[in-house]
């Protein structure tokens, strides 16, 4: 039976997943980052015994509590979607994701559940030392809960430590350490958590700037800023370096993604990095249109970023689609041929097994194993389908990097003027500073757009395209729940903003 895949359903399911993930990610980075900063504030309070530091710590803890309460469980929706909209994918990756997510559930839940209560209820009820320990454990637990989901995400982008079982249609884990400690996973975890620290620091700067502008809670705001700007500066510089490591890992595992977010259509030796540009929307891999309407390029820098050595070649999208014999690059076109062979042998293997023809089955299995590396390419109809949306990837990447660079300068300015004691007089900086949290969310969301849009059309890099990962449902079902989610998440977001705004307006408790 030959059927068309329902593409409308696939695209609605993708949109729904993107919507859910983006809303979920409005809450997560603040939770991950602010727990560390609160732990620093709490430590200063315990060291100094100053009531002002205690008030300050309790205030930021309260805002953290609001964010956590509104955001908690929003990620569970993605698991619902896996089972309903992405059942083929869910089935196939169950063995890989089961272990990491079970560990996350157990470790993070117990750490968080135990120490959250002590952190919030422990004032004057437990010893200062144990209370402080609990606050640090909340930070550790929150960030640990991000480890495994990021390991799972990294595996989808760089599927190591697995073997496809053609009898069960499942990817089976061959090496837990290869999955958990893959360089891609480490880079992703470090980049995500350190950038979350930056987001949290900018959240604190935004609110504290607002207080300073209104001449309210001045001492608390200044103290909050000095610690947050110092930690934010360290985090942002670290983000710059580990971002470079992420790009290096992407260049190795997903060269198409790198080429897309840099708008590199044709590969070059000593390729330049486009610092800013306007993408030519008519450019395709199979035409000769210019890549950009305008571009500002830094010579040689992309080669350095991708290969960490001068004089080397960075493949462009054209090389990756059609191949480049001179550079030894196999194109999507050739991979499609191998992928189609893998699929044909998989089908024949199943058929022979059903017919009880063991010899034929074994022959097809051997052939399948020979070509299975490019299994996913067998589903592509044209090699050009291997190219992700270029303009969105390009702009998302450049917005993220530009804002990340701006944040370093902002942290330097806040820290410098704080030390100098003149921050209150810098009205323009403070006025702009109130918008920093919004900008940090833009950068953070852009980062995920680079990661997820840039890897299209793959659900699992090179092995499973999203068109095959989905459930064969009608689009109507997914459309209904898409709008429901939009409504529910918008209400949650409004609740967050409203409760948060009220608490900020009230400010810290007076003694």
């Amino acid at each position: 039976m030959i059927e068309n895949f329902d593409l409308t359903m696939v695209n609605w399911a993708r949109a729904q997943f993107a919507l859910t993930a983006a809303y979920h990610w409005l809450f997560v980075p603040l939770t991950l980052g602010i727990t560390w900063i609160i732990a620093f504030y709490h430590t200063i309070y315990v060291k100094t015994g100053s009531e002002e530091w205690k008030r300050l710590t309790k205030f930021w803890m309260k805002l953290f509590g609001v964010n956590f309460a509104i955001g908690v469980a929003t990620g569970i929706i993605m698991e619902f979607e896996f089972g309903t909209n992405w059942s083929n994918y869910s089935w196939m990756v169950g063995d890989i994701f089961g272990a990491p997510l079970a560990i996350e559930g157990i470790v993070a839940f117990f750490l968080e559940a135990t120490f959250f209560a002590v952190m919030f209820f422990g004032w004057n009820r437990v010893s200062k030392g144990f209370h402080l320990f609990a606050t640090w454990m909340v930070a550790v637990g929150s960030n640990l809960s991000a480890v495994w989901i990021l390991v799972a995400n990294a595996w989808m982008q760089y599927p190591v430590g697995q073997e496809f079982n053609p009898d069960t249609a499942r990817f089976e884990m061959q090496s837990f350490s290869d999955v958990a400690l893959s360089p891609y996973a480490i880079a992703k975890f470090v980049h995500t958590t350190s950038s979350s620290m930056m987001v949290a620091a900018l959240f604190i700067l935004s609110i504290s700037s607002w207080y300073l502008l209104r001449n309210r809670h001045v001492i608390m705001a200044k103290r909050s800023i000095i610690v947050a700007s110092a930690l934010g500066l360290v985090a942002s510089v670290f983000v710059m370096f580990n971002g470079d490591e992420s790009a290096y890992q992407i260049a190795k595992a997903q060269p198409m993604k790198l080429a897309a977010f840099e708008g590199l259509w044709e590969g070059e030796t000593n390729a330049g990095l486009v610092a800013a540009g306007l993408v030519n929307m008519d450019k395709r891999v199979d035409n000769d249109e210019p890549a950009f309407d305008f571009e500002l390029k830094i010579p040689g820098l992309l080669t350095l970023m991708a290969n960490r050595s001068w004089g080397t070649f960075v493949p462009g999208m054209k090389d990756l689609v059609y191949g480049n014999e001179e550079q030894g690059i196999m194109g999507a076109q050739q991979k499609m041929e191998e992928g189609k062979l893998a699929l044909a042998h998989l089908q024949s293997y199943q058929q022979a097994k059903k017919e009880g023809d063991a010899l034929t089955a074994e022959a097809h299995l051997n052939s399948f194993n020979k070509y299975k590396e490019y299994l996913g390419y067998g589903y592509l109809q044209t090699p050009e389908e291997a190219v992700p949306p270029v303009a969105l990837s390009f702009y998302a990447f450049h917005v993220m990097v530009a804002l990340g660079t701006l944040f370093i300068l902002i942290f330097v300015a806040y820290f410098f003027f704080s030390i100098k004691g003149t921050l209150e007089n810098k009205k323009l900086l403070l006025a702009g500073g109130t918008l920093l949290y919004i900008l940090s969310m833009v950068a953070s969301q852009a980062g995920w757009i680079v990661a997820e849009v840039g890897r299209q059309p793959w659900a699992i890099q090179g092995l499973l395209p999203v068109t095959v990962a989905r459930t064969n449902l009608t689009a109507g079902t997914v459309q209904t729940t898409f709008w429901m989610f939009l409504g529910i998440f918008t209400v949650l977001l409004l609740a967050e903003i409203s409760i948060m705004a009220k608490q900020i307006s009230i400010g810290p408790e007076e003694n």
Binding site: N11, A69, F80, T84, W91, Q347, L380, E385, P465
Partner: protein, 84 residues
Amino acid sequence: MEQMIANNNPFVRVYRFYRDGFRNMTLGKTLWKIIFIKLFIFFGVLKLFFFPDFLATQFSTDEQRADHVLGELTRPVQSTTLSK
């Protein structure tokens, strides 16, 4: 005396710690209400009526599920164009 024994019992102390903590919450009560309403909507409405686990509800054994997915994987594909 009884009170002292009760106070030294770690389980009682933990219970009282939580009980008093919840009792003294102000903003926390609102947040817990939001959490419960949200969990009810997610699990009691969305999961129950809109997000069945496709393979779990359509097939009764893992073998059937594997066969279904293998069938999907090896089904001829006519078009895979994604919206960009």
